[in-house]
Symmetry: C2
């Protein structure tokens, strides 16, 4: 017997009852029951993003919604500052290049988050900039940007702030309206603990004003079409009906547990994982670690590919490696989805076993004990 457990920062483990909820008989989307379901989902998404803004649901990956937000909010004449501090941040620069959007890429060392000071300096240097694009939780490096602080600046200057919240929303504190974020994006396969296939964009009135001022150069990811269909809680193109049912089902559970409760629990898992890494003699990669995913530096003498392979083949734990320049240098563990303290102890135990197998010297159980101390304190 071998259980497969996903510790990848998306896709994540999905609760069995959610999978079965989605396995119920198909229904059509041009029906009163679909519209009612979509309407309820829309209110739940508003809770998730902590906003009164319009929440759009795309059948696609997070990239589809983020592409829609960027091309909609950056019509000709605008200029975007795109923070570039990881693989996903780089993708938004690529969107700008693909669509011919005027922009400046602000390079920040991988593992670091964007700080208000960085943004302020870059904005001061170029008065043409009117938009900031930033990744809240950069999944490739497990670093967190201070979007609350950055929003104060963009708000003051009357600029738009577009945030990739793909591994942030539902995992770490996100308060779209209170902070003043103009567009926030997430995907189904992260903290929403669903399979991949849906993406969500919350878009406020300031962003709509900009979007409506230009012509959107895309059809499938055109935010305007999604907004229009929301008048009747319809969809512009055939939506993934079972996943939408799953999203409503999951978010009802999120509301019951409360976002604050989930943020606290996720933070506890991250804190325990970081404490375990330190106790095992490993370094946490990110200088500004986020609580939704932890990246550990693979120690000298340990083969990262072999480590990940054994984690899966021998113990059933699927973890993630590094991307781009970080390939072979880090391993990443998710704290999102259907995962709790006891699952997390499991993956840490498997990590200890695999590190020892590769000749890395550590006291067996030291990581587990450190994690357990965090859990003990948190569960008091």
């Amino acid at each position: 017997m071998k259980k497969i457990r996903l510790f990848t920062p998306g896709p994540v483990m999905v609760p069995e009852d959610v999978m079965l909820e989605m396995a119920r008989p198909m229904d059509h989307h041009r029906t009163a029951s679909y519209r009612e379901m979509h309407k309820e989902l829309h209110e739940l998404l508003r809770y998730l993003f902590q906003t009164q803004a319009t929440c759009l649901t795309f059948t696609g990956s997070g990239t589809s919604a983020m592409e829609g937000v960027i091309v909609g909010c950056c019509p000709p004449g605008s200029k975007a500052l795109v923070v570039q501090n990881g693989k996903f941040a780089e993708r938004w620069v690529k969107v700008c290049n693909t669509f011919g959007i005027d922009h400046t890429a602000l390079d920040i060392e991988w593992g670091h988050g964007a700080k208000p000071g960085d943004i302020q300096k870059a904005l001061d240097a170029d008065p043409k900039l009117d938009t900031v694009i930033v990744v809240h939780s950069e999944t490739s490096t497990a670093a967190r940007s201070d979007v609350e602080g950055i929003a104060k600046i963009t708000r003051d200057r009357g600029m738009l702030l577009l945030v990739d919240g793909i591994t942030a929303v539902g995992a770490i504190p996100v308060k779209m309206d209170a902070w003043g974020i103009d567009a926030y994006v997430t995907g189904s396969q992260k903290a929403m603990m669903l399979p991949p296939g849906l993406a969500f964009a919350a878009v406020n009135d300031r962003a709509w004003e900009r979007i409506d001022s230009g012509k959107t150069p895309t059809l499938y990811n055109d935010l305007k079409a999604y907004r229009k269909s929301l008048d009747t809680f319809d969809a512009p193109y055939t939506p993934n009906v079972p996943l939408i049912r799953g999203a409503k089902f999951v978010l009802e559970g999120v509301k019951e547990r409360t976002l604050e409760g989930i943020w606290t629990e996720t933070a506890m898992l991250a804190k325990a994982t970081r404490a375990a890494a330190e106790a095992m003699g490993l370094k946490v990669f990110a200088a500004d670690p986020v609580d939704s995913v932890t990246a550990m530096v693979v120690p000298e003498g340990v083969d990262e590919a072999a480590l990940r392979k054994t984690m899966r083949s021998k113990h059933g734990f699927q973890i993630a490696g590094g991307q781009g320049d970080l390939k072979g240098k880090i391993v990443r563990f998710s704290h999102m989805g259907y995962v709790d303290a006891f699952d997390t102890l499991g993956v840490l135990a498997a990590l200890e076993l695999c590190l020892q197998e590769q000749g890395f010297r550590l006291e067996m159980g030291s990581g587990l004990a450190a994690a357990q101390r965090v859990f003990t304190e948190a569960m008091k």
Copy 2:
């Protein structure tokens, strides 16, 4: 007790074992098992499209793949002839307008398919045209275009032929390589009898040559990124893993039943439905009827909205109405997905009951008997 039965031309009914196959525990996509599954799916898609071309899998609706095909195959300098004979055909004109693609829309009366003569004439009139875009089965009118005949012309002239096969592929004869179609698109929620959420595009070398000659003005639907990821049977953006597992599962069944067997069965359901309509005194709308969906003209004195409503509320049958100018004028019945002769007798029985309830005079059972005669002949 009331069973809900979908007779809408997508989403369609999905077999219970397919839903449960997709409800199996989530797995990650950057794994050997995903790549193996994707590789097998790719071979099965080649069977489905009857091609040796590259088959790309998008997480999105059919519109996403069709947008990718059109913008990729129509770089600046090219000019497309877009047949416009229904709501979906109109959408491809809209894609051309959105992306600034030079094109001519060829209007053909709704309910009619495009014929080789129409295309020949239009091409003769404008030597700048180098691409033809046509819908094989126009779902909004239930009309079939002669893409085999059209392909002879485009092939002779060295042009590209891009075909929306969304309600054609897997339902009616489609022979991409034998006919010489350059790009064919379908979606998961039609003849593949899956939920919505995936789209597939088969793209041949002639099309790739054109695509590689230009710069694609989209990121999420960029065919090149999907082709590149196929080198390792990967995906450029997080794919809908359960639906991909479902697609492989369904197509294994399709191969076992054989495409020819499915085409014959679908044609039988369509023939029976058309015979039933005639026996009930109803007119089939399309002049060139397709076998994947049948549109009937709503007779004088019958309220289409009320008819469809009662079909669902009283008898559990979800059928489709008309779109655009056909709203209120036709009703449509699917012959795709998890539907057989006995289900079809059910929807025809419900239709007789609802027509009578609205005061339409017909001999009860006449439609059923006509359908049964077709089934009797076919099942000999």
